[in-house]
Amino acid sequence: MDPESKSAVLRIVLAEDSVLLREGLVALLTRYGHEVVAAVGDAPALDAAVERTDPDLVVTDVRMPPTHTDDGLRVAVTLRSRRPNLPVLVLSQYVEQTYAAELLDTADGAGVGYLLKDRVGDVDDFADAVARVAGGGTVVDQEVIRQLLRRRSDPLDRLTSREAEVLALMAEGRSNAAIARALVVTEAAVTKHIGNILAKLDLPLDADDHRRVLAVVTYLRRSGSD
């Protein structure tokens, strides 16, 4: 568990249509000291619950009633357009760049997470992602990044494989220290890699931590819209 993610108590609205998993997620979030103020099973109920409780964070599945397609995601996107400051963490059954891109398009991708549903089993990492997203960070599943990196694209082609790894970890919202630990390199090396990445992707180097994920967000938008 990352020591840097000691988080405050969050009031969370949870949307998940499987009763079994809903209970599991409630237990998990409660365990990490958060309060689940509403746990619902379909898209309209999610919308209503957010209006009613005004939570700190929304955690929602993509596929749920009424249509069993991407209802959860649609609600998440409309919620974000109504309340740009509402952090939303979307859990998806499959890696879908289009979904991720739509979500990150809302309010510059601040306070947005798009994770593969399987990740909730890694309870520490998941709790971490919850805290990051609630704190205005951006979390994108490593699998999405991996796919993006595999696809042919001009700016990303210019990245070395090491830089691509660093970008993937950045996209997960990790700090320099955490990236250094994951890749077993020094923090100084990580800082250097990040500088190179931002330069290659034509992004201004900025003190603001959030600019780092713009690297990913920008790219996601570009590839998600084709």
Partner: protein, 451 residues
């Protein structure tokens, strides 16, 4: 330019025509005609004359019933035709053949062993209206109605013929009995002008004539029944169905089969997603939480850790499996995102350029998606390509999808690369698949599907 044109070759229609080889002696005849040309003894003492008799009698009774029924329906419909319901009743008249035809097919077996198959195609859509329109459009319905009308008309002729023949034979054979029962009526049996039979002895001389007539009638009625049967068969079975119609029907049934198959896959996907997958995710959550409470270096801790890892692996495998069964993304978002998704998982870089103005019909999307996934699999496996491109657009009402790779080329439909399966899959939606793959590459796989 080598093109694979999906073609459909069919075996010829099965021979169900009645002109079977004439059976020789010793073989069982299969129709009344064949029975007629056997030696007289073999014919007269077989069941055939009786079968013919039953056929004609039952036909005349049935014909009479049908004539009455048609009359009642027509009158009812005409009377009620000021209301809508009357028109509905009248519209039902041509469909009477649907009720009569099965009976007729069954009765035909009395004098003709060769079965007639039910020519009707089941309606493609559910609901009474679909059934109604389909039946009205079918030639078979009108043929059967014709057979019904014929039966009603000829049934009366049958009855007259039977009565005349029956009374002739009956009087001649029964003459001695008639005279004996009525000895003192004086007039005896009036056989005609100026010829009456008065004594029993005289009456006995009529019996051979009656027997002779009986034999003649046995032949006559069998021939009559055989003729009727042949006419009925002609109306009910018609000529053999045109090969063209068969191809259309087969293509339709294949398309239905593919649709059913797709629907089944969607159902399986949904079941797996809503059931096993959610359960497994919940399980990994439980195990993850349990790990927090157990010292990692204890036995229990190690076991739970191992179980947790296993469950996560299983979840990953299940996710891949579910995607293979049915790409939910295709259903949700259509062809372009689904193809982008597949391209993202290919082992070589794939650029996707698909611009579609709208969602396409489900079966078209499915066929195109199937082609792309299969083509990219081939690129990964056989081509040694370093990159590939998938292009898609709508041109003049046709969806055109191209998969291009810079590999070694020489792709061959006969080499078990799944290309034949692709061509089949595309042909179901009336598409055409073209493959250009010279030795040394590049390879272009192109699909055109009307949409």
């Amino acid at each position: 330019m080598t093109g694979i044109e999906p073609t459909l070759t069919l075996p010829g229609p099965p021979a169900t025509s009645p002109n079977l080889p004439v059976s020789g002696r010793g073989e069982r005849p299969r129709t009344a005609w064949q029975a007629l040309i056997r030696p007289p003894g073999r014919f007269l003492f077989s069941s055939w004359p009786w079968r013919a008799l039953v056929y004609v009698v039952s036909g005349s009774v049935l014909g009479f019933v049908i004539a009455m029924a048609l009359f009642v329906i027509a009158v009812t419909g005409a009377v009620l035709s000021v209301f809508l319901v009357g028109l509905v009743v009248l519209a039902m008249i041509p469909l009477t053949g649907l009720i009569v035809a099965p009976i007729e097919r069954w009765r035909l077996r009395l004098v003709d062993d060769v079965p007639v198959v039910d020519p009707h195609v089941p309606p493609t859509r559910p609901g009474p209206w679909a059934w109604f329109t389909q039946r009205y459009r079918e030639v078979a319905t009108w043929r059967e109605f014709g057979a019904t009308l014929l039966l009603a008309v000829l049934g009366i002729a049958d009855m007259l013929g039977l009565m005349i023949a029956g009374s002739f034979v009956g009087i001649l054979l029964g003459a001695p009995l008639i005279v004996w029962l009525d000895p003192d009526s004086g007039s005896g049996l009036q056989m005609g002008p100026g010829w009456s039979v008065d004594t029993v002895v005289e009456a006995w001389s009529l019996v051979p004539i009656g027997l002779l007539l009986l034999v003649v009638f046995a032949y006559l009625i069998t021939a009559w029944a055989a003729g009727r049967a042949q006419l009925t068969r002609l109306l009910l079975a018609g000529r053999e169905v045109e090969p063209g119609e068969r191809v259309v029907a087969l293509t339709r049934s294949r398309a239905r089969l593919v649709d059913a198959f797709q629907a089944e896959r969607r159902r399986i996907e949904r079941d797996l997603h809503d059931g096993a997958q959610q359960r497994l995710v919940a399980l990994t959550v439980e195990l993850g939480l349990a790990r927090l409470d157990l010292p990692p270096d204890s036995d229990a801790g190690r076991r739970v850790t191992s179980a947790h890892e296993q469950a996560k692996l299983a979840l990953g495998e299940l996710r891949e499996l579910i995607r293979g069964v049915h790409p939910q993304l295709l259903t949700d978002r259509g062809l372009a995102p689904a193809v982008a998704d597949v391209a993202g998982r290919a082992s070589v870089p794939v650029s996707v350029e698909i611009a579609l103005p709208r969602r396409l019909p489900r079966e078209v999307e499915a066929a195109a998606y199937f082609v792309v996934t299969e083509a990219l699999t081939n690129v990964d496996r056989h081509s040694q390509a370093t990159e590939a491109t998938v292009r898609g657009r709508i041109d003049d009402g046709r969806l055109i999808v191209e998969v291009i790779d810079d590999g070694v080329g020489g792709a061959d439909a006969g080499r078990g690369t799944g290309l034949v399966g692709l061509a089949d899959r595309v042909s179901v939606v009336d598409g055409v698949l073209t493959l250009v793959s010279p030795i040394g590459g590049p390879t272009l796989l192109r699909v055109e599907i009307p949409c």
